[in-house]
């Protein structure tokens, strides 16, 4: 049964923050200090990064849990993807507008996770809007659609519970729309 919600994205996309903002419990995280000088320069307000998984859960009542995972999108960690993707009801790809490879990175993640979780619904959240005002949202969205990924794409501030919550509402609406369309 589909009991998982998965957030996936590259370093600095906001997975850990997004999960923390909607969770009932403090997420279990495998964060480590960033050791790469170049990465420290690129993410100036970020001192730690997730090296494996984030895990949290959301209570649905009567002891039922929705398991929430955050998975790094770096290709060298892709051995974890099938394990996490199995049984996912939805996958949210988070991408930072600061990422110069935002489009190819998102396309790769969507393609890989669609193959791993064919029954899951997908949505894309673009973060760091305030730090990259020149990011062309419409070009990004249209390019995804051009590759066959017609799905909700939204700006999201991962620190804002209401915004992550809204993105999940859109994802769930897509899931329900699949059943009626």
């Amino acid at each position: 049964m589909a009991t998982k919600l998965v957030f996936v994205g590259e370093m600095g996309a906001g997975k850990t923050t997004a999960i923390r903002s909607i969770s009932d419990m403090e997420p279990i995280s495998t964060e480590m200090p960033i050791s790469d000088e170049a990465a420290l320069d690129a993410f100036e307000d970020k001192s730690h990064t997730t090296v494996a998984l984030d895990y949290s859960s959301i209570e649905l009542g009567d002891g039922e849990l929705l398991h929430v995972y955050g998975v790094p999108g770096q290709a060298y960690l892709d051995f974890m993807w099938p394990i996490v993707a199995e049984g996912a009801i939805g996958v949210i790809v988070l991408v930072s507008a600061l990422n110069p490879r935002a489009l190819p990175s998102t396309l790769t993640l969507l393609e890989r996770f669609r193959a791993l979780a064919p029954d899951a619904c997908f949505a894309v959240g673009v973060t760091c809007q305030d730090r990259e005002p020149d990011f062309s949202f419409s070009d990004f969205r249209n390019a995804l659609a051009g590759e066959g990924h017609r799905l909700p794409v939204m700006w999201v501030d991962a620190r804002e519970t209401s915004q992550v919550d809204f993105l999940i509402k859109a994802l769930l609406s897509c899931r329900y729309a699949e059943a009626i369309a």
């Binding site: 039922e64 419409s138 017609r150 939204m154 329900y176 009626i180 369309a181």
Partner: protein
Amino acid sequence: MSAPARKISAAVIGCQGLDVLHMMRLKVASSLLMAEYIQADVQEWNHQQVDLLVACIDDSNSQQLLREASQQGLPVLAVTRKVLSGLSIPGVAYGASVRDIFQQLRQLLVASDNSGERYKPRTLFRSLSGSKGKPCLLHMGLVKLLIDATHTRATLLRDLPYENFLKAAAEPGWTLSQLGSAEAVDECMADAVSTHAFEDFCWQAAARSPEPLVQRETTNPCQLRGWPEVETGKLPVQWLLPMAAMMRRPWQPGELAQATGTSLDDIARIMAAAACTGLLDGSGTGAAPAQGSGNKVSGFFTRIAKRFGLNFSKGLQV
């Protein structure tokens, strides 16, 4: 018992080649149209969309002008020194009084349509339709904004809350001027207060307006080309399901309303917002049959939805 209030409609009267005297008389005559519940706005005609053109036809360019107006199907009221009985279009004599002009305006704008529905309120989005390709300056009272040539960005030119712009967007009475030069754009941008995605402006305005932003006449089933760029959380949650369904396939409005448990009014507002932002794909020739993915909605899904404040049992109840 009082009679239902009659709505004030709006008309734009273009003018060309009028001298100061006739221009002044035209403006006064236009203001008298309020007696017919028509708020008329007189603008210099630069080939923009207007409801009536008042033009002096005595100069050498007049034949060209009349041809262009005819091509657009635009009614013309001529001001001329020629013999009126020899004209093939309605006209008033050079030196005509305010009363003469008013009567002609009334006849042209009102007499042919007693329902009062012909001149739909000139909202921002009605004014904008057909203006793509040139930057447009739009204003209504204190509210003033610039829309770029590709209808991608909306720049607010008054230091008022964004909310005021969004509420005003669906109200009638907007005046549009196309900006023909980079200098004119630069001059406007000197007053820029903030810039927003045009999609955000449209969709948030649509969410606040009880009426669709524009009237659509196509009967083709419609699909969403992409998810609009709207500040997250600013769309009504009830719109998410019909929007999600429109991402999957084309729908007729009634069919979509029924399948998603959404009101037809909301569906019309969504489709109009999509049309205004170029996100509506109405190229479908027939409604695709409802298929469904075969993905059953489980009780577990229902409980997840409930946890996030959604109830899909009768459409999307929040």
